[in-house]
């Protein structure tokens, strides 16, 4: 990177807030996915106006820009695929306003998801989207990826909880859309921008809805001898119109790995469990618990346990939320997939995953949001073994293809990013891409903002600015 640009940014942000040495940058070439790409500079702005000035400088010098929250994303959304400047929002981590009366919070993008809940729980409120990484991921990142989590089954994903945004457009202009009101007039720009994976604008402030905590909560652990019985149970719960707040499935092999790691109290000798949470009025919770137990028993559940207190409940959830970490101990690397299927097809989809596991010879763990059909098969492999890596990628693509074939979608909550950009053609036609490109062109005409994401290379925009041969492109050059 041109030293004049480095010193200009240093004088704008202070030298501490500009990283340019290779050893510092290496930390930022990863996120939670298997891809990697190194930025040439990482900057830490503290204000919207600094973000705007960084963007203007980048545009002037034709340098790609990518925003980054905590880097916990699982699709490569926050990787500098086009090289250039990474804007890390870690210092923009202030909660600007808590309007408890109207149940709104105004936050900077670097605020950690769970910190917002902690700031309002004294008033019986919380921020509903709860990705497994909620203790480290940022709300800015959640907005970019339209993140979900176990409880989105009942409460919706990030887009259902955002009413306003402050944006820095790819030319450096600062603008606002929406506000605290739920329905701003005009085109639903928040609806378009939440989940646009940082390809249309940078988000510098978020107005989020706060939700009211339920009066009662009950956590059930249903234990099954086979995966089939567990998936049939989920399909039946959905068909009987019982809507738990969360309904997670973990297979037996995964449970053993979790038990070795956190001792959450899961059985070590079963085929699968369902971790089901019900929330609402005491009476509704009691009714639903009876209904769920009936369905579980009808599908040969060995046992349905109810968490006796908050400790037991938290331990079960800790087991669920640290599952990926637990599996991380079993192989040098793993590949977490994210695909969605109609809930009525859960049993057949899991059977297909098991077949693919046999075909590829790699271990595939299953821990996922069963209640909304959001699969997360996790393929374990050793990246040093090229053949294993290729098998893992192949198995993953086979699973995703199958999910789309039976009426599903490529990604339920992790985003397309660079991981799935080439698979987009499974779902979208030339005409769909043409419209996406025109929208992209209107917002991000230079293509400098987060290049190489969402669009398949070759179907992108101007040409998604993956400028092969460009000197500042360590990835594709």
């Amino acid at each position: 990177m041109n030293t004049a640009i480095i010193s200009e940014l240093q004088s704008l942000l202070g030298p501490r807030n500009v990283l340019h040495r290779a050893e510092d940058l290496a930390l930022y070439e990863y996120d939670g996915s298997v891809d990697r790409a190194r930025p040439e500079l990482v900057v830490f702005p503290s204000t919207t106006s600094e973000v705007s000035r960084i963007v203007k400088l980048a545009v002037k010098h034709d340098i790609p820009i990518v925003g980054r929250g905590a880097g916990t994303g699982l699709s490569g959304g926050a990787l500098a695929r086009g090289g250039g400047i990474m804007i890390a929002f870690g210092r923009m981590n202030r909660i600007l306003e808590l309007d408890l009366e109207n149940r709104r919070a105004v936050v900077q993008p670097g605020v950690v998801n769970f910190d917002l809940t902690r700031a309002v729980e004294h008033a019986g409120l919380y921020f509903a989207p709860d990705p497994s990484s909620q203790k480290s991921c940022t709300i800015g990142g959640n907005v970019s990826e339209n993140s979900g989590g176990p409880h989105t089954l009942a409460y919706g994903v990030t887009t259902n909880h955002v009413t306003g945004l402050e944006l820095v457009l790819p030319d450096g202009e600062v603008t606002r859309i929406g506000g605290k009101l739920s329905d701003a007039l005009g085109y639903d720009l928040c609806g378009l921008l939440v989940g646009s994976e940082g390809t249309l604008s940078l988000v510098t402030e978020i107005t989020a809805k706060l939700s009211k905590k339920s009066e009662a909560v009950r956590t059930l652990l249903a234990i099954f001898e086979t995966v089939d019985d567990a998936t049939e149970t989920v399909t039946d719960i959905t068909a009987r119109a019982i809507t738990p707040a969360a309904c997670e499935m973990l297979d037996g092999w995964t449970l053993c790995a979790i038990e070795d790691y956190v001792h959450a109290g899961f059985p070590r000798d079963c085929g699968a469990v369902l971790l089901i949470e019900i929330e609402g009025l005491r009476e509704a919770v009691a009714n639903q618990a009876i209904g769920i137990e009936e369905v579980c028993k009808a599908h040969q559940a060995r046992e349905v346990r109810t968490a006796q207190d908050d400790n037991e409940r938290e331990l079960l959830w800790k087991g669920r939320k640290t599952a990926f970490g637990a599996l991380g101990r079993l192989a040098p690397s793993n590949y977490v997939l994210d695909a969605v299927i109609p809930r009525s097809k859960l049993p057949q989809a899991l059977r297909r995953v098991l077949e693919i596991e046999k075909e590829c010879g790699l271990k595939i763990g299953n821990i996922f949001h069963a209640g909304d059909g959001n699969l997360h098969p996790l393929v374990l492999f050793d990246p040093r073994d090229r053949a294993q890596f290729e098998k893992a990628v192949q198995a993953s693509a086979d699973i995703v293809r199958y999910c789309v074939e039976i009426g599903g979608a490529l990604t339920g909550e992790h985003g397309v990013g660079m991981e799935k950009s080439e698979l987009m053609t499974l779902m979208f036609s030339e005409a769909d891409f043409a419209l996406m490109r025109r929208v992209h062109q209107q917002f991000n005409p230079t293509g400098l903002l987060n290049p190489g994401k969402v669009f398949p290379i070759g179907k992108g925009c101007g040409e998604t600015r993956i400028r092969t041969g460009s000197t500042h492109n360590p990835v594709m050059a």
């Binding site: 309007d99 009366e101 990826e145 989105t152 919706g156 994903v157 887009t159 603008t175 606002r176 859309i177 929406g178 009101l181 739920s182 329905d183 701003a184 007039l185 005009g186 085109y187 639903d188 609806g191 378009l192 939440v194 989940g195 646009s196 009211k212 009066e215 399909t235 959905t238 119109a241 609402g280 009025l281 005491r282 009476e283 509704a284 009714n287 969605v340 299927i341 109609p342 809930r343 009525s344 949001h369 909304d372 959001n374 009426g407 979608a409 490529l410 990604t411 339920g412 985003g415 987009m424 779902m427 979208f428 036609s429 769909d432 043409a434 419209l435 996406m436 025109r438 929208v439 209107q442």
Partner: protein, 456 residues
């Protein structure tokens, strides 16, 4: 011109589906602007062909269903082709076990409701003109439902859409599954855009289970302050009702009969009435009844009752149709919609009522979900001062924006008054990004020009 255009469309949809009779064309008029041709495609591909031809011939197109809400927005600046989507109908895919359904745009809402009810499911789109409206028209009009209090608006349960964009291409976004972040969420953009972005051909919805018991709770208050305070207290309880509406006495007198349960309360049709709808098992509904009665006793409630079954459902119909009823209540009525934050509702309501009084025009109001005010001005007779008074009201309402955040638009208004009453006068926010979206979807500006916010 009519004959030339018609001859281009006939090979696409057949002679019988290209209509040019003046009487029929005027039925398809939008704010008294009459199209040259009415084209009736039978599927999405034909709709796309019509749009392609319109593009070549530089014709302005307004897609429509049965046109129950076609008077919304500003008058079109150009309008050549009415694209009647009512033949593009039927259920494309229904997976009751997944609680998802994919429906063609011309399908009547009522037909959809019947199909869902057979599987004990429903869509929380209890919108005005329910008996006639189509699915596509409902999404394009963006009219809301009392059930938004619990279920949100269409934006929260539309999973995907297929549509014809302004280049004549058949495009889509989202999918049929309940959780999906693949690609840009264009289907969210289609809500309430009055046909200005695309021709909706199909919508995928998440459906919801019908609850075994649905009941209402009515409480009467001597004044608006008491009613609004009750709603605020209710929001602090653990209860999560399906709907919470407040009826002004004028609203009740106009639209509720003497035999309505509201009339049986103390103060009856003279009162401000809070209507809370709730659903669930019988145990859950009994809990609601108990808690609401207790809340009523601790507030300034005059009287309260629980309403069951058919009596509740018929009240729900009135609430559902409220904006349409208001629009039909006087020869020249104007229906306004204001949305604000719950904490500002009392101030907004007080100010609006005082402006209404100052405009010397009778009014009626309904408050939805503690934050939305539907207010109708209902002039008894119209003379040269009527429009001035209504314009005064609209301007005064707009001046409140200096004090607090709210959005406002005119839902229904006589066409001839729209030259003085800009229905979008009080829209805030950057028009620049709105224009960019319009340009991407409809680069040549052929869809519903002039009707939507910012003239797009």
């Amino acid at each position: 011109m009519t004959a030339t255009i018609a001859s281009r469309f006939e090979p696409v949809v057949g002679d019988a589906n290209v209509r040019t009779e003046p009487s029929l064309r005027s039925e398809f008029g939008v704010d008294e602007v009459v199209p040259a041709v009415v084209a009736r495609p039978e599927n999405a591909e034909q709709a796309a062909e019509i749009v392609k031809i319109a593009l070549e011939e530089k014709l302005a197109v307004i897609p429509c269903g049965v046109r129950t809400s076609i008077g919304m927005g500003m008058p079109p600046s150009r309008y050549d082709v009415a694209l009647d989507m009512t033949r593009v109908r039927g259920i494309e895919h229904y997976d009751p076990g997944d609680l998802t359904i994919s429906v063609n745009a011309g399908t009547p809402l009522k037909e959809l409701a019947t199909i869902l009810a057979e599987k004990n499911q429903f869509l929380p789109l209890a919108v005005p003109f329910f008996e006639n409206a189509t699915v596509g028209g409902t999404i394009a009009s963006g009219l809301d439902s009392p059930l938004r209090h619990f279920y949100g608006t269409a934006r929260d349960f539309v999973l995907g859409a297929e549509f014809v964009d302004g280049t004549g291409a058949l495009a889509k976004s989202g999918g049929r599954v309940v959780k999906n972040v693949t690609g840009y969420d264009f289907h969210k953009l289609l809500n309430g855009t009055l046909g200005s972005l695309a021709v909706i051909t199909r919508i995928n919805f998440r459906t919801f289970p019908l609850h075994p018991v649905r009941r209402g709770f009515l409480a009467s208050f001597a004044d608006e302050t008491g009613a609004v305070a009750f709603v605020k207290e209710l929001s602090a309880t653990p209860l999560t009702p399906a709907l919470v509406e407040v009826l002004s006495p004028e609203f009740s007198r106009l639209f509720l009969a003497e035999k309505s349960p509201v009339a049986s309360l103390r103060l009856g049709l003279q009162a401000w009435t809070v209507c809370v709808g709730f659903e669930g098992s019988s145990e859950v509904c009994e809990r609601y009844g108990r808690d609401l009665s207790r809340l009523a006793r601790s507030t300034r409630t005059q009287d309260a009752i629980t309403v069951l079954d058919a009596r509740f459902l018929s009240l729900l119909e009135i609430l559902r149709e409220a904006p349409a009823l208001m629009s039909g209540a006087a020869a020249q009525s104007v229906v306004f919609r204001f949305a604000t934050l719950p904490a500002r509702l009392p101030d907004l309501l007080r100010a609006l009522r005082s402006f209404a009084v100052s405009s010397w025009t009778p009014s009626a109001a309904l408050i939805r979900s503690g934050s939305i005010v539907y207010l109708a001005l209902l002039p008894r007779e119209v003379d040269e001062s009527t429009l001035k008074q209504i314009a005064y009201f609209w301007k005064s309402a707009g001046s409140l924006r200096a004090q607090f955040e709210f959005s406002a638009s005119i839902l229904f208004c006589p066409t001839k008054w729209k030259s003085e009453l800009d229905v979008w006068a009080h829209v805030s926010g950057s028009m620049d990004l709105q224009r960019r979206v319009k340009k991407a979807f409809d680069p040549s500006g052929i869809f519903a020009p002039g009707r939507f916010v910012g003239g797009s």
